[in-house]
């Protein structure tokens, strides 16, 4: 599904990612954890095509194609979805209009006809119920005046409707109370399938209580310093990140284990 090799990335001539290697197979859930400033968000931005980053080396291959060559909308149409850490408010553009425009862009890209209006409404309303949202949200401007939890739910709603292949969840758990967290996690779990992969970028382990990852990677100082099973997340919760990032020598040693 996704293969990242020796990826190095600069922002304003400062190296943020210092050689990332990551292999994600179809159906897998990978958690990327790490302290603030480790490069987690940079990684998710790079995958979704945000401007302002300079790739200085390495490659990202998505379903056999060079992902870095694609503009953001083509990545999205190819099935890459970023659930934003801070979803953007767009006054004047309704949720439902954005959803339909997005869905039709994907269909057009794949040579399909536009979605039937009735089918679309049925699909959307079903997903709205799944995420325990009010239908009124559909007719409100995208994220405008939404609470933090509502914004995150809205991201998952979009994901559920667009049915991407690779879902990147950037700090989706931040700002969520426990009830909202459960609903979001259920939404994500309902989307799990053998041909869909997830990258969950998170600072804390608590989201992983509800969405069990296949692999956990620890990112520190722009490198993956440790990879392991879901148990690694529990170990991090207990010990913190200090033991992994204290000094670079230790980090590199662990990284090569």
């Amino acid at each position: 599904m996704l293969s990242i090799k020796d990826l190095t990335v600069n922002i304003n001539d400062k190296q943020i990612l210092k050689g990332i290697n990551l292999e994600i197979k179809a159906g897998e859930i990978h958690a990327i954890m790490g302290p603030n400033g480790s490069g987690k968000s940079t990684l998710s931005h790079i995958l979704s095509g945000k401007a302002g980053y300079e790739v200085t080396g390495g490659s990202v291959t998505y379903q056999g194609k060079d992902l870095l060559e694609m503009p953001p909308e083509i990545r999205a149409r190819e099935g890459v979805f970023l659930a934003f850490q801070y979803p953007v408010e767009i006054p004047g553009v309704s949720n439902i209009y954005l959803l339909k425009a997005a869905l039709n862009s994907i269909r057009k890209y794949h040579g399909q006809s536009e979605v039937d209006a009735m089918d679309f409404l049925t699909l959307v309303k079903g997903k709205v119920r799944l995420l325990e949202m009010d239908e009124k949200f559909l007719y409100r401007a995208v994220n405008e005046g939404f609470s933090g939890g509502e914004k995150k739910r809205n991201e998952i709603l979009q994901m559920a409707i667009l049915e991407p292949k690779l879902c990147i969840l950037d700090e989706t758990d931040s700002g969520l109370d426990i009830d909202a967290l459960k609903i979001v996690a259920e939404g994500v779990n309902s989307l799990r399938s053998t041909d869909r992969s997830f990258v969950m970028v998170t600072h804390y382990q608590r989201l992983l209580d509800y969405i069990k990852p296949d692999k956990v990677h620890v990112l520190a100082h722009g490198q993956i310093v440790k990879s392991g099973s879901a148990d690694l997340a529990l170990e991090l919760e207990e010990k913190g990140y200090g033991w992994l990032e204290d000094d670079k020598v230790a980090a590199q040693t662990l990284g090569t284990k």
């Binding site: 979704s48 095509g49 945000k50 401007a51 503009p71 953001p72 909308e73 990545r75 999205a76 149409r77 979805f81 970023l82 934003f84 979803p87 953007v88 767009i90 006054p91 004047g92 553009v93 309704s94 439902i96 209009y97 954005l98 339909k100 425009a101 997005a102 869905l103 039709n104 862009s105 994907i106 890209y109 536009e114 007719y139 401007a141 979009q158 667009l162």
Partner: protein
Amino acid sequence: MSATTASRYAAEYETIAPALPGQSLPWLQQLRANGFEKFSGHGFPGLREEEWRYTNVSALEKKLFSPATQLAASDIDSNWLRSYQLPDAWSVVLVDGYFSATLSSLEGLPETVSVLSMADALTKRVDKLENYISSAANNDEHSFVAFNTAWFTDGLFVHIPAKQVLEKPIQVLHLCSRNDVLATTRTVIIADESSEAKVIETFAGLDSAYLSAAVTEVFVGENAELTLYKIQCESEKAYHFGGTYVKQSRNARFIHHNFAFGGLLARSDIHTDLDQASECELNGLYLGVKRQHIDNHTRINHLKPYAISRELYKGVLDDRARGVFQGRVTVAEDAQKTDSQMNNRNLLLSADAEADTKPQLEIYADDVKCGHGVTVGQLDEKSVFYLQSRCIDEETARNMLTFAFANEMVDKIKVKDLHDLVLAQVLARFPQQGIEKEWL
């Protein structure tokens, strides 16, 4: 052109004047003579005048626009007319500055309501007109008003008697059909106490260079409500100078929607005087492309206590277009408890586009609530990326965001047919696929 140079237009006046309507009325003759005197002594406004410093009208003297001598209603293509005309409205059509009876339709208008061409009103409603014309738009205001008073060939007279509520809007279409024509019209709208009406002024022209100079005077009686829409879709080679001068009585409500889309050079003045506890709402949307210059100049005079004014003007400027907003709110010493808000928001879509904005507050009372805000900016790149990450290509994403910015003003239109007509024009400028109106 400077103020001291004699205007080429003034030199022509002698040949034009005899054919103007109302020449048998001494008071009007005097008014016109006063207008002519003011204009010929001064010419069109110059850049040295504070109110005109951003808008150079010297091109008008390089080209001599002349009034049409006969009605050209037959030149008007009915399909073209229909693209601006509302199906469910009382409709008055002025072509090249003259009322066209064949194109107008006032069927079913209540008998107590007067809608007449200005030329007609100057014979049939003289008593009324004498008291009103020029009492809101004074020749001293600036030389365009003086010019209009001296030159107007026709226009419209609307009188809505007390307590009359008009179910349908009255639409006035000002059309220009040929090159080099000068269309000078004067409109007087009187809404007597406790009446309610909507009037739509649409300005449009065939693809040609012409000068449209219109002055509208509005009198909103006590407790009356008048909504005036101005839809300015002049041809892209045209010059448009329009002034709307309003007097509001106690508790009167005046709502103005100013959509400025067309013209090579377009200037609108909207002035209103607020009496005690009256309310005004001034909304504006200007969209400039290519080398368009669109100037909107508003003045709100709070003369008495407890009046409320709300103003929001939004501009979208692309290519080398220039938008000017000058808004002044004056609160007289006597106007305590005034509540006033003025905002101007500009979106620049190109590096060569320009917005000049100048809000002014002049407050002479001490117990008032007045605010103003101005922004000039570009599209938010975070929003563009968000939409791209949701499969929308960059161009469509920018169109969606620009449209959303403009649509706030379109949404304020309460006449459905008009809303749809303006919406279609805005959407045509910012194309998006698969948009469904009911979702906007």
